[in-house]
Symmetry: C2
Subunit: 376 residues, 2 copies
Amino acid sequence: MADSDLEKPTKVRRRKALAGDGRLAMAPDAAAIPAWTLARAPTINDVARLAKVSKKTVSRVINRSPHVHDTTRTVVDAVVARIGYVPSPQARGLAINRSFLLGLIYDNPNAQYIVNVQGGILEACHREGFELVVHPCRQVAPGFLAEVKAFIQRQNLDGVILIPPLSEDAALVALLRAIGCPYMRLMSVPLDEPSAMVLHTDRTAAAEVGAHLAQLGHTKVALITGPQRYRSTHERREGFLAALAERGVTVPDAWILEGLYTFETGEKRGMELLTAADRPTAIFASNDEMAAGVYRAAFRLGIPIPRDLTVVGFDDTPLSSRMCPALSTVRLPIHDMGKLAADRLIARINGGDAGRSQPLTVTPRLVVRESSAPPL
Amino acid sequence: MADSDLEKPTKVRRRKALAGDGRLAMAPDAAAIPAWTLARAPTINDVARLAKVSKKTVSRVINRSPHVHDTTRTVVDAVVARIGYVPSPQARGLAINRSFLLGLIYDNPNAQYIVNVQGGILEACHREGFELVVHPCRQVAPGFLAEVKAFIQRQNLDGVILIPPLSEDAALVALLRAIGCPYMRLMSVPLDEPSAMVLHTDRTAAAEVGAHLAQLGHTKVALITGPQRYRSTHERREGFLAALAERGVTVPDAWILEGLYTFETGEKRGMELLTAADRPTAIFASNDEMAAGVYRAAFRLGIPIPRDLTVVGFDDTPLSSRMCPALSTVRLPIHDMGKLAADRLIARINGGDAGRSQPLTVTPRLVVRESSAPPL
DNA sequence: CTGAAAGCGCTTACAG
DNA sequence: CTGAAAGCGCTTACAG
């Protein structure tokens, strides 16, 4: 835009007046193409004129106002159907100060997570006439908050959805509250009011992993955690260790190592654990990326999985089923989480009483594959 | 929306009139929060009043019209900066029949591809004041074209970007042309006018793979292709076979097998190739998913990679560097492709003369990792 | 170089 | 139950 002189029109308008007889105006060279594909979309004025009512009445019908006579409604509906009228969210939004746009704000390296959550969000969005604008960003970048704020206000977003780790950013959430932007947070700990969260019970799922290892008979168990600053790290650690402890298995401190949820740290920690004089027979890596790193360490050391080493991950990324052997891991229902979040967010935007609602909770489940075996 | 009566306001307007003295109105209980965070965004009217000029003049300044006196411009710019005015794309769009929205339409199982292309597109978008609306869909679903058309027209999208395999859908492209929606296609074959494509030279890249295998000394080479209906399948096959032929290596027809770009078909074809009496010493799987399937087949059969079998993939998904051993593959510069596509698309939307421009071309490159070795 | 009027497609009070 | 008028925030001819 910076270089062009906008005083000159740059494009033919797609929305012009209808021809007087109510049929769609046809472009000069529309020859082989059906008229309706080329002409501009019909407007509320077209419907009003054709139905011989006022714009206001058409508006009432569109918005399902009860104060419309059945006969009138029928006539208007018929015209709407006949000319294929669809209200413009742009104009509608300008009039009522909405955008019918939701934002997905993320700083997450897991592509599958993002695509899945997008899919779930859109399923809810389309049912309610919303669309999704995506916004990757860098939480650590200077001006991060100002940039996100500008994004939301510029687009007049009706609401935003936050996924981990951004969903744990207190400053970001404070900003959203300050500018009055409705939001939903996907997270593993109830840090907010119930109506603003979709909770995934990582603690319970990690406990399933602990129980699984104990049941296989493992007593020499190690844990590679995520970064301390993430809540999921603590949930997964505590659920895991508690379940093992319940079953009489104690994990020594020396076998609880911190990783950064990356492949590289998984490999590094795996090497440390597996090259020690005494080594574990099972390792729970707190996400799939780190589990893949452990695989690499075992591969380099010639330690066969699962014969000599059981490995369990978390996330169920595509990676986990492609690895050899296939990785046991925990599946997060990310698509559903996105859908639940968007459903509730839209309900709140539309004035629903989500205030006294229960928190939305989903349960990740252990998926046992080939990387699990009893110790030798 | 369906259930709520929109005749009753559902939400407080964020954009109201400024207080008479030109300072932003403060919400009643704004106590600890800075006023600017709570008040509605300033409008062009606020700028006009404060700068003591007309809206039109403010509009000219915003749009960098040359017909504005320097003094006037300076005054307006100062007011804009002081009150933090940002034009509303919604209102702007309604007036000039634009949305400042680009659409990414995809039916692609590769999450990393989508996230990377989104990132590239957004880099260009934000520089030009556009945002990205994502639209996953099913090419084979009934009503696919009508659904996409409704999406584009409802949101009045300024342009859309198509990635494989949707970028090869002739009916979809015909629809876009019919409704006058500018588009860009990411593809491996020049099927459109130069200005509407970002080309990735898969043929050349696959030739690199062929040369690589020949140079390692492989003469017993197999190929698992993608589905016949994709252009990339043919590009990769032909580039690969030609490069081998140039170096005196012939791939027998029995060793050219069709896959569906899925893990499962990769495994299936891998099993077929590796359980035959005479088996290849190298396999080129036309994408990483299928290469991972070949790994699994080799793993099940106890065939060590790369000692007894060299495997090369295509795409360089995160998978490829996580597998053991790390997979040699071809890296597509997807982020750059998205950026290039969006840059050109926006240039065309803004009335640029992209008509006589060269096609945008990117070169995928072979990345040699651990899965490559000379034959025994 | 600058501005008053009309319009983009929709909605909201306000009347009837 | 229905409509004429004004407005959302911006832009475009058209005058000056």
